[in-house]
Amino acid sequence: MNVALLTLLAVVTVAVIRQRSLFGVAILAGAYSFLMASVLIVLDAVDVAMTEASVGAGISTVLLLATLHLTKTIEIRPTRPSLLSLALALVVGGLIVWGTLGLPPFGTADSPVHAHVAPRYLNQSLRETGVPNVVTAVLADYRGYDTLGEATVIFTAGIGVLLLLRGFRRRDERAEREK
């Protein structure tokens, strides 16, 4: 199961890189997100999988297509292959892989992440918050301050994009009036 999903992920990634039509890239990115959601379900992270499926495959695809509606759909072929960016990508990718080598094996019960506050959340959250889903309890209660920050990030990003899209139009109108 894991091997099949990861192979498909790799295939879709290569297809995204090779594809010149940005319309195709947007659709493939949606497929990638659905595969990623399946991987997260295999990892038992259902909440994250649901977010990945709805945001990654749903809204992102719609917004990418909406952006394509405003721009051109064919990517311009690069004039020359950039060896510098290839080297940079390889070095950064290598560093990330090297970094993961130091992590404890997946699912180890006594890894530092599980040794700190996690046992307390798992044991006490139902008694303290009355909410059976520990993810919701941590997200909205124990880490409520962080979630408030997240909501503010969405608010700020949304306002920023709205202002960008609107502001340009107003400038266009003003330019037309001045003509």
């Binding site: 709805s54 809204i59 909410v131 059976p132 919701t136 301050y145 979630t147 909501a151 608010f155």
Partner: protein, 138 residues
């Protein structure tokens, strides 16, 4: 778009189920997977599907632009106000214990209100962004 009969009929058929699923994800998030963020995105998805199939006017009749754009800051305010209530009643910011007589019940209420705030901001932002993109493309 008026020729896509299958698309229009299927959209009409599945829209109530999408909306229902969003509400389920929102209010069942305490017991199963889900919560305000996912429910907000699914709600926005229903409106966007309506806009894609039946045109932006039909969508804006159900979710008017003015309301959607006010929802963007409103959700954050609901979230922050829930925290401020705790502050005013002599506890820490975002301490939900004071929201009901019983602390555990207060936490349940706090989580409910906070998730509702997230739902409002996320769905508002996503729909407003989609409207902005569509209007820019005209």
């Amino acid at each position: 778009m008026s020729l896509d009969l299958v698309l229009r009929v299927v959209t009409k058929l599945i829209l109530p189920f999408i909306q229902m699923f969003a509400l389920y994800v929102q209010f069942h998030g305490d017991y199963g997977p889900g919560g305000g963020f996912q429910a907000g995105v699914i709600t926005a998805g229903a409106v966007i599907l309506l806009a894609i199939t039946f045109g932006i006017r039909a969508a804006q009749q159900i979710a008017p632009k003015a309301i959607v754009e006010r929802m963007v800051p409103l959700g954050v305010l609901i979230f922050a106000a829930t925290g401020v209530v705790g502050l005013l009643l002599g506890r820490n910011f975002l301490d939900y214990s004071v929201l009901a007589h019983d602390p555990v019940h207060g936490h349940e209420w706090g989580i409910f209100l906070v998730e509702f705030g997230v739902l409002v901001t996320v769905s508002g932002t996503m729909i407003a962004l989609f409207y902005a993109f569509v209007e820019r493309g005209r």
